[in-house]
Amino acid sequence: MTQPLRKLAPVAPAGEVSLYEVRQKIYPRAVGGWFAAWRWTLVWATQLVFYGVAWLEWNGRQAVLFDVAHRKFFLFGLVFWPQDIIYLTVLLILSAFSLFLFTALAGRLWCGYACPQTVYTEMFLWIERRIEGDRAARMRLDKEPLSFRKILRKGGKHLVWIALALWTGFTFVGYFTPIRGLASELAALSAGPWEAFWIGFYALATYGNAGWMREQVCKYMCPYARFQSAMFDKDTMIITYDAARGEPRGARSRRDDYRASGLGDCVDCGICVQVCPTGIDIRKGLQYECIGCAACIDGCNQVMDKMGYARGLIRYSTSHAMEKRLSRAQMFARVFRPRVLVYAAVLLAIAGAAAATLWLRVPLKMDVIRDRAAIAREVEGGMIENVYRLQIMNTSEHARALELAVKGLPGIHIPGEATIGMPAAESRVVTVKVRVPAGAQPGTHRIEFELKALGEERLEVEEKSVFIVR
């Protein structure tokens, strides 16, 4: 059975229709196979990380914590400060180039296997199937009049969904406020209003999007879906129905020679439509609704196996391969085309540069703010003194003794003690006097502050400033 692509609500008088589409509920049928297994692998991989990592400890604190209130972002051994925003930029660039690369290679891989919308829909569907049964049973249940059994099934499903959604919201907020503290606060019903709001908000988003909205999110809300197709070309592997092999489709008896009666390999069983989470018919060709989940490939392969036909009536293939009837080897050879190579090269270069800068990152920062109004003053012995405020940030989790030096003018020095003690992960403003001996040339001189951690080779930062003599 096939579903009509869309239905517009009929409105009187005759000839007029609603200009809005009425949503038709989709009941995706369960499917197993190579690609479904891949999707489940990714569901497990991403969700074990998401639900699990929040509970890991590191150095006596939460291993991954984005502490917005204190503007410190912990990622295992690394502590990022707002000044490290460049790494967020790098992460976004890496994500963008990964998207370009994977989309050019094989279309909407992200959508089909790893997008949270897909992952949570998959989890919610699994729960739905456990409680209400598979496609046919669910359709039957929806048509049934209200009964105790129906309320029990439906209510039970929503309860489990809400529980999972709340746990998801709780975990999400647990990345921004320490999750163990949040758990005990929730147990004592004393969580702050904002924490409670965001848990509720994220839970509602999960429940609404994965339980109710599903394909509507991909079809109408996701901008990603629309611009991904701009990255396709004729050598991009997409989920394709081999029309030359399948058509003309039709039911047939196993005993007959279907080729003799002029039929193709497609038995028109409709499995590919029934398993589709967006309710499309892949046999109509590439459509914008297709999220590339490959459920139809798994479904069709099962049928082909049963019929004793070769697998791959629906498969990952390219437009070129279809047009020119290329072999698999010929098709894969076209993976190494300039577009893919350039994307891959840029991605590798940025990833390499990012890894190198992370490795060489000095967990010490300094900003020099010169006193602006008090320009220069004369102190004992006719020496000229300038005053600076140094914002020193120790972004590591170790307390350090720092030594400050200044260079750039003959005889320039910092009077008195120039060792600064910095507690772990602290920012501190230090007022520093800098002197030059009498007789310095009036004017503005370039100088440089050097901050070194005592007993550590690599830990050194330099910052430019000016010294004014008048």
Binding site: L5, Q216, A373, E378
Partner: protein
């Protein structure tokens, strides 16, 4: 104060806003249904010979989001003052009222702390690290522009970390200086003394702090100093805190040491002003600031 000179524009914009919102609702309602498209899957429009447009209608729930924005707009205009200056909104909110509310909240939060600090003597307050931390913040905001962030001063702006005080370094004197400000005036003596006279006085002044000076000029300058300068700076040049006259016998020079700078001071005079802060800071804040400044040159508890 409104930028518009006539109340007409106020009403005009209010009506325009209300009509626009209503028009949006009417437009949305009137565009809900229409003739069925000719072909099922396309809008029937064709461009550039073969470019046709797929008919991908919005889902019905999307329309309700549009209506929701209209409801939001209407509710917002009822709650907040968005329809001309005569409608104050049900919530009575304004920027000024919000500022007042937040100021009040801050006063409630920090008031008790300031009260506690205000009740303490300056010398006791200077022993309280929390008060000194507040004092330093106040200093950096209100004083550091002239006196530098280490309070070490600059040319023309006194150093507050030493024991040399123009107007006195006792807590009461410091508090009076911050509250009422000070005007330090040294009149110009150039026209009276002449170039040579100024030079002689300058050499005498240099000798007071043990600097190298021409001995003939020193002895000539001494007489002029006694008749002209001693009135304010004292017979021994030790200064007078009642007048803000600096001590000339130490090595601290507000306007620069050396013959050239001292001669310039004598010839042209100096006018220095410390602004009054009584209108800028509350008495409690001035009290804490006094404790901070006093602590810079005194060790509390001694």
């Amino acid at each position: 104060m409104s930028d518009f000179t006539s109340g007409f524009w106020d009403v005009y914009i209010a009506i325009l806003t209300a009509v626009s919102i209503a028009a949006c609702a009417v437009l949305l309602w009137s565009q809900t249904k229409g003739k069925a498209p000719a072909a099922a899957d396309t809008t029937g429009h064709v461009w550039d010979e073969d470019l046709s447009e797929y008919n991908n209608p919005l889902p019905a729930w999307w329309r309700w989001l549009f209506y929701l924005t209209i409801v939001f707009g209407a509710v917002y205009l009822v709650l907040y003052p968005g329809l001309g200056s005569s409608w104050k909104g049900v919530l009575g909110w304004s920027q000024v009222s919000q500022l007042r509310e937040e100021t009040q909240k801050a006063e409630q939060q920090y008031g008790p702390l300031y009260e506690k600090f205000a009740a303490l003597e300056v010398k006791d307050l200077a022993r309280n690290p929390a008060a000194l931390a507040v004092g330093q913040k106040l200093f950096l905001n209100h004083c550091a522009q002239c006196h530098a962030s280490d309070a070490g001063g600059s040319r023309g702006f006194p150093n507050l970390t030493d024991k040399d005080w123009l107007w006195g370094g006792e807590p009461a004197q410091i508090e009076a200086t911050i509250t009422g400000g000070r005007n330090g005036v040294m009149p110009p003596w150039g026209p009276v003394l002449g170039e040579d006279g100024v030079k002689n006085v300058a050499h005498y002044v240099m000798s007071l702090s043990g600097g190298s000076a021409d001995s003939i000029r020193v002895s000539k300058g001494k007489d002029i100093f006694a008749s002209t300068c001693a009135a304010c700076h004292g017979a021994e040049g030790k200064g007078n805190v009642a007048l803000g006259a600096p001590n000339l016998t130490d090595k601290i020079w507000l306007h620069g040491s050396g013959e050239a700078a001292i001669s310039e001071t004598i010839t042209k005079g100096r006018t220095s002003q410390m602004p009054a802060h009584k209108d800028l800071l509350t008495a409690a804040k001035i009290h804490i600031l006094t404790a901070y400044v006093w602590s810079l040159s005194n060790t509390p508890g001694q």
